[in-house]
């Protein structure tokens, strides 16, 4: 069933449903804008990879799976955490390396986890999350708990060898896994055409007999509908699925990106014509489900949450020096 589903379709939704998705995507956008700002102020250090432009992917997927299903991703991970229900405060404070962060300041932008929300990181080695995600799926199958694991990775990671090792075993053992390729067209500064012999990434499972579909990753409703079908497939014991999400990142690969590998016009064109948040906004207005004042109020509410997280991230203390040696090893139980 390896197929391409890029079509403009009016997916079924409702006022409450669409407002919820709008809220989730806007939260990620505003959070990331603020993170970029704090980086510029020197409050966030090291690497910081923003998710702006790709919001529909993770919001659509999270809305299609159920509580207890696991999510795991690479280093462009802030959006995934917010979509999982992790707090803006905890994520932002980790970005600033403070004790109030999810990893108590020891992980940073690329390394946050939440056992409670079943978010398994936050991984800095390109492609590593794919076998790890397959391992989570193996645990689900072993425990027969009915859950599905979702491993997100980019078009760059899709060229790593370990991805195919994981595909092979996931199919061989019929693991309940979704492999979500966020194809934002650029692996750091290298376009997919310059890096991949086969650029249609949803076909990358053909050698293993894994079905793949290509989805408009700028349309949250398209993402969700496709993800529901794929999750059901995996949950029903039919094995893994590959979902290629056609998406785009507006910002640089990380904060220190000279942006010389693509034109400003290219970025503007996507932003003006395909923005996932504008799409939802337009439909909300067209359906008469929200007017500009309502949307402004939502924006204001989200900005308050984000500003509060930034304030918390600035004021939360750095980890106590005694934390240096904690969490290296767990003690052995008697």
């Amino acid at each position: 069933m390896t197929s391409k589903i890029i079509k403009t379709k009016k997916y079924k939704t409702s006022k409450e449903d669409l407002l919820h998705l709008y809220h989730q995507m806007l939260l990620i956008r505003r959070f990331e804008e603020k993170a970029g700002q704090l980086y510029g102020m020197g409050l966030i250090a090291g690497f910081c990879h923003l998710y702006i432009g790709q919001e529909a992917v993770v919001v659509g997927i999270r809305d299609a799976i159920i509580d207890g299903d696991q999510m795991i991703t690479g280093y462009r991970d802030h959006g995934h955490m917010l979509a999982c229900g992790m707090t803006a405060r905890g994520v932002m404070a980790e970005l600033t390396g403070r004790s109030g962060g999810y990893s108590r300041g020891k992980g940073g932008s690329m390394h946050m986890f939440s056992v409670e929300k079943q978010f398994f990181g936050g991984h800095g080695i390109v492609g590593a999350q794919v076998p790890l995600g397959a391992g989570l799926a193996l645990a689900n199958k072993y425990k027969d708990n009915g859950h599905v694991s979702v491993a997100f990775f980019g078009d760059g990671a899709a060229n790593q060898g370990q991805v195919y090792e994981a595909f092979n075993m996931a199919k061989l053992w019929s693991l309940p896994a979704l492999f979500v390729i966020e194809n934002n067209q650029y692996a750091m500064g290298t376009s997919i055409q310059r890096a991949s012999a086969q650029t249609e990434l949803y076909k990358r499972g053909i050698s293993f007999g894994i079905e793949g579909i290509q989805v408009d990753g700028m349309d949250v409703l398209a993402v969700r509908e496709a993800a529901k079908k794929c999750a059901k497939h995996a949950r029903d014991g039919k094995g893994p699925m590959i979902m290629e999400m056609m998406t785009y990142r507006y910002r640089g690969h990380s904060m220190s990106d000279p942006a010389k590998y693509r034109t400003r016009d290219e970025v503007n064109e996507v932003r003006d014509e395909q923005d996932p948040i504008d799409k939802v906004k337009n439909r909300l207005i067209a359906e008469g489900w929200a007017d500009l004042d309502t949307l402004k109020a939502i924006d204001k509410e989200i900005k308050a949450v984000v500003n509060d997280s930034a304030e918390f991230a600035k004021t939360s203390p750095e980890p106590d020096p005694s934390e240096l040696y904690t969490d290296v090893l767990l003690e052995v139980e008697a």
Binding site: L43, R104, F113, A128, M169, M255, R264, V328, L330
Partner: protein, 454 residues
């Protein structure tokens, strides 16, 4: 209040830059995402993007200005409906918060790793069962799999083939294919799947046909398994055992003969175990499987067939992190692990005939290293020989020599001596291979030299 746009830091090391070009002018309407200016850093030219919306009120830094400090206000943006009066004189000081200096390692004492697996006392008169190292390892896994249904084993040829070295013999028959999983030849992938399964609440044993092949998987062992507990602030557990034969076997060439003890011993977040005899192989592997941390379990192919006594005690377990004095002596301390312990014991017999009383310590665990047992011995014998099968540079012997020199320098009557594999990839030719690997005689020579009896 107008919005102040500051000179951004576009890399972790950037402190200042040149404002090469303004792409907006006063009075322009700005949308979030519009490019305001180009700036040049020591590394590249980059674009400054606006995250705010409004009208450009005032440009404060001229085009072409050099050495503009990060945090300097370069432009003020007027929000919805604001007039020029909203512009304030910006304060010069950038709002960059200084981080407190990182604590020096000396400032914080490293806690002692508690290990509450209690050492089994083997009562006098305990029945001993002659067991091969191979079967002792198998028995350890079988017992732990019976005890805890989260424990499973995966690896190449572990199931139907019954183990490439027969270490997993009959496990498939007892536990079935759900818990004894044959993998394809794909170390990187199955190590990652094992780590993911551990994060997902299982207790995997991942067998590498040999540790040589685990170089393909070392990223998952170190980056995914060893570091995650720390990086997650203590949230994400990874109870997993990676095991298989390590080091030189016999005439298998350089790529199949590598000793990795010092590689893994270098990594915080791992435990590294290298047993010598069958009883230790069993007791330590059981402890490794129960351990809540990632454990590297280094076996020795040449030891698999050796037969030793194993106490006939239910649930025989040996705590990780405790060395064993295998032979007491008064003149020189020989510290060793894995197969080299046997060489050291042979050497001690020869030395005894020459009037030198050697104490032989089996480290059993390389990380955490039981340095106290070594120090206690050296304070008695005043002489140290470290013997290992791996290479010398940055090896286990180098580490022990350094620690003993740091902590018991005044007790030493001679510089520590090291015995190790010659500094070459292991050759295939029988004579060259024998020349490369350390033997009992090398240990004898080293012991005599530190006793000044050579």
């Amino acid at each position: 209040m107008a919005i102040d746009i500051q000179m951004p830091a576009l890399s972790p090391t950037m402190e200042e830059g040149t404002l090469t070009k303004w792409l907006v002018k006063e009075g322009d309407e700005i949308r979030s995402g519009d490019i305001l200016a180009e700036i040049e850093t020591d590394k590249a030219t980059m674009e400054v993007e606006s995250i705010d919306e409004g009208v450009v009120g005032k440009i404060l830094i001229e085009e072409g200005a050099q050495n503009v400090l990060v945090g300097t206000i370069i432009l003020q943006l007027l929000e919805d409906g604001e007039g020029i009066e909203a512009l304030s004189t910006p304060s010069a000081a950038p709002a960059v918060e200084a981080s407190s200096p990182a604590p020096t390692p000396e400032a914080v004492a490293a806690p002692v790793i508690a290990n509450t697996v209690v050492e089994m006392q083997v009562p006098a008169g305990t029945k001993m069962i002659e067991t091969s190292v191979r079967d002792a390892l198998r028995d350890a896994m079988a017992e732990e799999m019976r005890r805890d249904d989260r424990v499973f084993i995966m690896g190449e040829e572990v199931a139907q083939y019954q183990g490439a070295y027969k270490v997993t013999r009959e496990l498939l028959q007892e536990f079935g294919e759900k818990r004894v999983i044959d993998t394809p030849i794909t170390e990187h992938g199955f190590a990652g799947i094992g780590v993911g399964a551990a994060m997902g609440g299982l207790k995997p044993i991942v067998e590498f046909m040999t540790w040589n092949f685990a170089m393909q998987a070392i990223d998952h062992i170190i980056n995914s398994a060893a570091k995650t507990l720390y990086m997650s602030g203590g949230q994400m557990r990874c109870p997993i055992v990676f095991r298989g034969p390590n080091g030189a076997a016999s005439r298998v060439g350089a790529q199949h003969s590598h000793d990795y003890a010092s590689w893994y011993a270098n990594v915080p977040g791992l435990k590294v175990v290298a047993p010598y005899d069958a009883a230790d192989a069993k007791g330590l592997l059981k402890a490794a499987i129960r351990d809540p941390n990632p454990v590297i379990f280094l076996e020795h192919e040449m030891m698999y067939g050796e037969i030793h006594d194993v106490p006939d005690i239910e649930d025989y377990i040996i705590p990780i992190g405790k060395a064993l004095v295998r032979r007491t002596g008064t003149d020189v301390t020989i510290v060793s692990h894995s197969r080299m312990v046997g060489r050291a014991l042979e050497a001690a017999v020869i030395l005894e005939q020459e009037g030198i009383s050697a104490e032989v310590i089996d480290l059993r665990t390389i990380r955490p290293l039981d340095i106290d047992t070594v120090l206690e011995s050296v304070r008695k014998t005043n002489r140290l020989v470290c013997a290992e099968e791996g290479w010398g540079q940055s090896g286990i012997g180098a580490e022990i020599s350094a620690r003993v020199t740091e902590s018991a320098f005044d007790y030493l009557d001679a510089p520590p001596a090291r015995v190790f594999q010659k500094d070459v990839p292991l050759p295939y030719a029988g004579n060259l291979e024998a020349l490369s690997l350390p033997n009992a005689n090398d240990v004898v020579v080293a012991a005599k030299s530190v006793c000044y009896k050579d």
